[in-house]
């Protein structure tokens, strides 16, 4: 049954015959996130014509080309700004914005916090592999301190952005984190994020075994997948742990789920007000 569903979902939501094989390295986590997204869309029984996927630049930026939605591969860091324009004009559409950590939080960091502050109804999925994979493993805004990378050969001296805390502080309505090891949980969070009326963020922690993993001798893709399993804890587990115990752990769960008026709905009220005053 599961296998049948899987193949039907692939058939239904992927540009199956045209665009495969994909550009990602064998063992990459991005395909797992892609799978979670299309299963979530299937679960929600959304009409493909009403779904858009918008990305920026980088390995994750290549995701939209594979899905049979309205898809747009934009410029580096700007996916949320493009998506904001589309959402304003087509508020009924479900818009999924997929970005990597560098795309979303370095070059696109300003757009990210402002989209969250506006609480515009976009679903943001950030594939956090801790590095710039496509350009060869340079340090990103989420690279852990001390890590060696192509541009921190002596160890990284900056501190990483905590994506979920940043999202909550910036005003997102829904914020969750899981990993590419915890596929079903990831899928569930993405479905919740799509359903949420407001700006939602799902951080999907992944890895890059061909760049950052290789430089730091973290092993093969399965080794790094195992690390995700071992390093991650639930919010409940985290509550019982001291700060020292939590250091280096990936806390999975929902960090915000709150009802805040969605931007395009508020703008509809502006239109009503403007038209009333103009009469």
């Amino acid at each position: 049954m599961k296998r049948q569903r899987e193949s039907r979902v692939h058939e239904q939501y992927l540009r199956h015959h045209k665009k495969f094989p994909n550009v990602w390295c064998a063992g990459c986590g991005i395909g797992i996130v892609l799978g979670s997204i299309i299963r979530a869309v299937d679960e929600l029984q959304l009409d493909k014509n009403d779904v858009a996927m918008i990305s920026g630049i980088g390995c994750t930026g290549r995701m939209p080309v594979y899905v049979d939605f309205n898809t747009m591969h934009t410029t580096h860091g700007r996916a949320l700004a493009f998506a904001t324009g589309l959402k304003m004009v087509r508020p009924e559409m479900r818009i999924i914005v997929v970005m990597g950590d560098g795309d979303a939080l370095a070059i696109g960091g300003n757009h990210f916090i402002h989209a969250a502050r506006r609480n515009i109804g976009l679903t943001t999925v950030i594939v956090n592999n801790l590095t710039y994979g496509m350009t060869g493993g340079q340090y990103s805004p989420t690279t852990p301190t001390g890590t060696r990378s192509a541009t921190s050969p002596y160890g990284h001296i900056e501190q990483p952005f905590p994506i979920t805390e940043l999202s909550v502080a910036a005003g997102a309505a829904f914020v969750a984190r899981s990993t590419v090891y915890h596929v079903r949980e990831l899928e569930k969070y993405i479905a919740q994020a799509i359903t949420k009326d407001g700006f939602s963020v799902v951080e999907a922690v992944s890895y890059c075994h061909t760049t950052l993993g290789r430089i730091n001798r973290w092993g093969t893709a399965p080794d790094m997948m195992r690390r995700l399993k071992e390093q991650s804890i639930s919010q409940k587990q985290a509550e019982r742990m001291s700060a020292e115990e939590k250091a280096g752990k990936i806390i999975r769960g929902i960090f915000a789920d709150r009802n805040i008026p969605e931007y395009t709905r508020l703008y509809d009220e502006i239109i009503a007000k403007a038209q009333q005053e103009a009469v």
Partner: protein, 383 residues
């Protein structure tokens, strides 16, 4: 026919305001922008006006986001515009290239102020002419228009939208600070007499649709997102369906088509006014606010018995090569005044030869006065 005679609207109006009203008349229903002198008034007017007509306004976090949102809005099917000045235009350049590459219609208003950098924010300039042409990287066609009065700011904004929809291209409207901020009496056309260009649609079924088809007219129709035509848009070089390609036989033909779609329509796109060229011995070519000083100088010179022709360019890009070449063919003297260190004059020199051309340039934040232009015309006239 209602039998009603069209009613013009007479008002005292600022150029920025006329631009905003022109956008509404052209059917603009989405604006995204960021405050910047001397273009802020366009955003302020549209923040008030757009919701009145069911449109939407958003103030983004910067100019990069503004042009990105505008392109996103246009992909959604709304005629979309942003307005900025030089520093903002610099920030927008990457995404203007994206609009050119993906052939998404949009209008970018640049109310030019003195640059470079922060320059003099409240002083006029015509220094962004080349930035409008070549500011984004890579080869691409572009259309840029420059009004020289408040009424023209209205008309050319309508025209900018029409061109952008007709040719699926970003269009840059080059106001200058004087035109943007100046108030003058203006007669606006009856809105009922304006028939804005609507975006071409397609009748082919979704599975056959090719958003970048090498169409006979070179402008394939663009179907908005959300209407059942699921396709891909990318800033990568792409095939006719919009998917990334590295094929040499797809990249070069795309570039040739997007240049061809402009080149084949020059008779539609090139807007200009000429006056007294047949009898002229000297030709003055000007645009924007400088065209007003130039026209006055030409009139004064004629009163003094000099034979002077005048060519006012409204379309700056593509450059009116044939028009300029034809107008200057018999003449030995061409005077080009502009508020920069020489930008459009480079094109004129390229077309008619450097030896014929005299520059009247000024880039200190002050307009070029008629006397400056007249002095050059007379100096040559006396030789």
């Amino acid at each position: 026919m209602t039998g009603k005679t069209p009613q013009t609207i007479v008002r005292l109006m600022q150029g920025d305001e006329a631009c905003a009203e022109g956008a509404i008349a052209a059917g603009c229903r989405f604006f995204a922008g960021y405050p910047i002198t001397p273009a802020t008034e366009i955003a302020e007017v549209l923040a008030r006006r757009l919701p009145q007509v069911g449109g939407k306004f958003i103030q983004m976090e910067d100019e990069i986001a503004s042009i990105a949102a505008v392109i996103g809005g246009s992909v959604g099917g709304a005629k979309s515009m942003t307005a900025t000045s030089g520093p903002g235009l610099s920030l927008m350049q990457e995404n203007i290239g994206y609009a050119a590459m993906t052939e998404i219609p949009c209008v970018i208003v640049d109310v030019q102020r003195l640059g470079p950098s922060t320059g003099r924010p409240t002083s006029p300039s015509q220094g962004d002419v080349m930035a409008a042409r070549w500011g984004t990287h890579g080869d691409h066609p572009i259309i840029a228009l420059a009004p020289s009065s408040v009424r023209e700011a209205f008309d050319l904004t309508v025209q900018a939208f029409n061109f952008s929809e007709r040719y699926r291209t970003p269009v840059i409207l080059l106001l200058d600070e004087v035109i943007g901020h100046m108030r003058e009496r203006v007669e606006l056309p009856d809105p009922a007499t304006i028939s804005p260009e609507e975006r071409a649609t397609t009748s082919v079924p979704p599975e056959w649709y090719k958003p970048y088809e090498n169409f006979p007219e070179d402008v394939p129709p663009l179907v908005p997102f959300g209407e059942g035509y699921r396709y891909h848009i990318t800033g990568l070089h792409h095939d006719e369906r919009g998917f990334p390609t590295n094929r040499l036989d797809e990249v070069q033909p795309w570039l040739e088509r997007v240049f061809r779609k402009i080149d084949r329509s020059l008779s539609d796109i090139l807007l200009y006014e000429e006056d007294g060229i047949e009898e002229a011995e000297t030709l003055v070519i000007a645009y924007g606010v400088t065209a007003r000083s130039a026209r006055y100088a030409v009139e004064q010179a004629r009163k003094r018995g000099l034979k002077v022709g005048f060519l006012k360019l409204k379309t700056i890009w593509p450059f009116a090569e044939e028009v300029v070449a034809h107008a200057a063919a018999r003449l030995h003297r061409v005077v080009v005044p502009e508020m920069n260190m020489g930008q459009v004059v480079l094109e004129v020199e390229r077309v008619v030869g450097r030896h014929k051309v005299h520059r009247v340039v000024r880039a200190d934040g002050e307009i070029i006065f008629p006397d400056q232009i007249l002095a050059v015309i007379e100096d040559w006239g006396a030789r």
